[in-house]
């Protein structure tokens, strides 16, 4: 089954990756604070049962928005720079200011890319599941293959 969604490209780019999904707000600091000592970035946020203990590095992270500490954008930027970030961030809602900062900082200052798309709609998050194959296009089109 293939389903197509259209969003707004915040940091345009193309990538294909496996989905990991949270219906809860993604607390960047709480989730990724141990990425530096993990071989692959794993979620350590005890308050997020959707993601706790799951691998985030290299995955298509599907989420409503990010929450929590204002170190969020900085952590995302560092994750992109050291190659430990998710392959892409796919937001069902309008992106929040912390994730937006991380997306723009990475796009302007880093040689590595992490495509970011927002406004994919609630239907996107209702549909997408862990393990789905995701393809992101430059124009913000997201293909979900199951």
């Amino acid at each position: 089954m293939l389903k197509t969604f259209h969003g707004r490209p915040i940091a345009p780019g193309s990538v294909t990756a496996e989905a990991v999904v949270t219906k809860n707000g993604f607390n960047t600091l709480a989730s990724m604070q141990m990425m530096f000592i993990q071989p692959k970035t794993k979620c350590v946020d005890q308050s997020n049962p959707d993601l706790f203990n799951k691998i985030l590095g290299g995955k298509a992270l599907c989420l409503p928005q990010t929450i929590g500490s204002t170190t969020g954008g900085m952590f995302l930027f560092s994750a992109v720079e050291i190659g430990k970030a998710p392959a892409c961030l796919l937001f069902s809602k309008e992106i929040d200011s912390l994730a937006a900062a991380g997306a723009v900082l990475s796009d302007v200052w880093s040689a590595h890319k992490m495509p970011v798309v927002d406004k994919l709609g609630d239907e996107f998050l209702d549909f997408v599941q862990d393990g789905d194959r995701i393809s992101v296009k430059e124009d913000g089109t997201v293909l979900v293959l199951r």
């Binding site: 915040i10 600091l29 604070q33 204002t70 969020g72 900085m74 929040d96 200011s97 937006a100 900082l105």
Partner: protein, 423 residues
């Protein structure tokens, strides 16, 4: 976005490529949220969230070095979040070694901050807005701050205007002197999306109430009714302290950048229900709802029955009055239980200027006798040490609970545990 001639010149590279990229970042960041202009930063000082020289945040320090090398320094002095390490806080020798490795770039980063424009060596605290620190914005001031608890306090209690900026973005705003005008900088963005009706019989624990509201409204603006029954209509020092802790929980358990408390906070007093958007959602909070929220917190200790190894109070940093008040409470608790010293190693955290003021009072010696340690550390950064992460830490900070493996208890429960129960 429409830029002034001066702003456009920065973007076009008049002050070099690095400054142009700083401006490009701010403009693109603002355009995502529909900003049509950049607003000049009007507060005297900035505030940075990054205070720790975490070895693995190398990309951030490299970026900051680029700013220094290119002369892109902050046009305003700034304060900064608390330091991550204090030898006074109990740690095993191996934890100390690990902390030195983890925060291996601390000296380099503090040297960078001096060049970039930190206000003073005492300017490391998340409560920069307290009188003792002096980074207290005026109503209507436009800020370039990060640190979620400080931003929500400045917006809600002081009536200043600041978005929930990320680290790096806040420094860029201080460097460029402008921030994109959107969200909480605009009148429309400060309107309430939620009405919170507080129906409890007594004043709830600040960080439990804040947690409940944060988790419900996420990044929206709540207008809170019924809290003035307990707090009154004046922003006394005690009320501001309650709102400091309450706001920190709304901002960390959710993503609240501004709240209004009916008849109490400045904009709610001026504008009343005109602040509430049409069709605002309603969230009713009573004792049962608070208990439901508290019961929902997971415990990830290996042994949930284990004896706590450490207790942290002061996330965000405590005020002078809180330190005095807790001294009285701990002394009384120990006296009632027939104990001389706290039964769990306990650390109270506050800024250096507040600790200095506290040390000038007789309370300091009294607190010392109870065995409680006072430190300027950031408890969150202490817990970032993987060897400390596995410790059984208790706290009355819902902010600390959210970001770490620590366990939340109300202030009353914490007092019982450290003075009477020891478990």
């Amino acid at each position: 976005m429409e830029l002034t001639k001066e702003q456009q010149a920065l973007l076009d590279g008049e002050r070099g490529e690095t400054m142009a990229k700083v401006m490009e970042t701010l403009v693109r960041y603002g355009e995502i949220f529909g900003a049509e202009k950049m607003s000049p930063v009007t507060n005297e000082y900035g505030h940075l969230v990054l205070s720790f020289g975490l070895t693995f945040l190398g990309p951030v320090f490299d970026l900051y070095q680029k700013l220094i090398d290119e002369g892109c320094l902050a046009g305003q002095k700034f304060t900064c979040d608390p330091k991550p390490y204090d030898p006074k806080v109990p740690q095993s020798p191996i934890q100390k070694v690990a902390a030195k490795a983890i925060f291996g770039k601390q000296k380099r980063y503090e040297a960078q901050l001096k060049k970039l424009g930190i206000l003073s060596d005492d300017s490391y605290t998340c409560t920069c807005y307290l009188d003792e620190i002096g980074n207290t914005p005026k109503p209507g001031d436009v800020l370039s701050w990060a640190e979620s608890s400080a931003v929500v306090y400045a917006n809600s209690v002081l009536g200043a205007r600041c978005n929930r900026n990320s680290g790096i973005i806040e420094l860029f705003g201080s460097v460029a002197g402008y921030v994109p005008c959107f969200g909480l900088l605009t009148d429309e963005g400060r309107k309430a999306d939620w009405i919170v009706e507080l129906k409890t019989e007594t004043l709830p624990d600040a960080q439990l109430l804040g947690s409940a509201i944060g988790m419900k409204v996420m990044e929206d603006v709540p207008y809170i009714k019924g809290l003035d029954r307990f707090l009154g209509s004046e922003l006394t020092d005690g009320v501001k302290t309650y709102l400091k802790d309450f706001g920190a929980a709304t901002a960390s358990n959710g993503a609240v950048g501004l709240y209004h408390v009916e008849n109490l906070t400045p904009e709610a007093k001026e504008q009343g229900e005109a602040l509430i958007r049409e069709h605002a959602k309603v969230y009713v909070i009573d004792e049962a709802e608070l208990q439901r929220v508290k019961d929902s917190y997971p415990c990830i200790w290996k042994d949930p029955e284990a004896k706590p190894q450490l207790c942290f109070l002061g996330c965000p940093h405590m005020t002078l009055e809180q330190l005095k008040d807790w001294t009285d409470k701990v002394e009384a608790g120990l006296r009632d239980a027939g104990n001389e010293k706290v039964l769990i190693p306990t650390v109270f955290t506050a800024s250096v200027p507040v600790i200095r003021a506290f040390n000038e009072t007789p309370y300091a010696e009294r607190l010392k006798r109870t065995g409680v340690v006072v430190s300027y550390i950031c408890p969150l950064m202490y817990m970032d040490n993987p060897l400390c992460k596995t410790m059984n830490v208790i706290t009355s900070s819902n902010k600390l609970r959210t970001y770490t493996s620590s366990r939340y208890y109300s202030n009353e429960e914490i007092l019982q545990k450290i003075t009477k129960e020891g478990k």
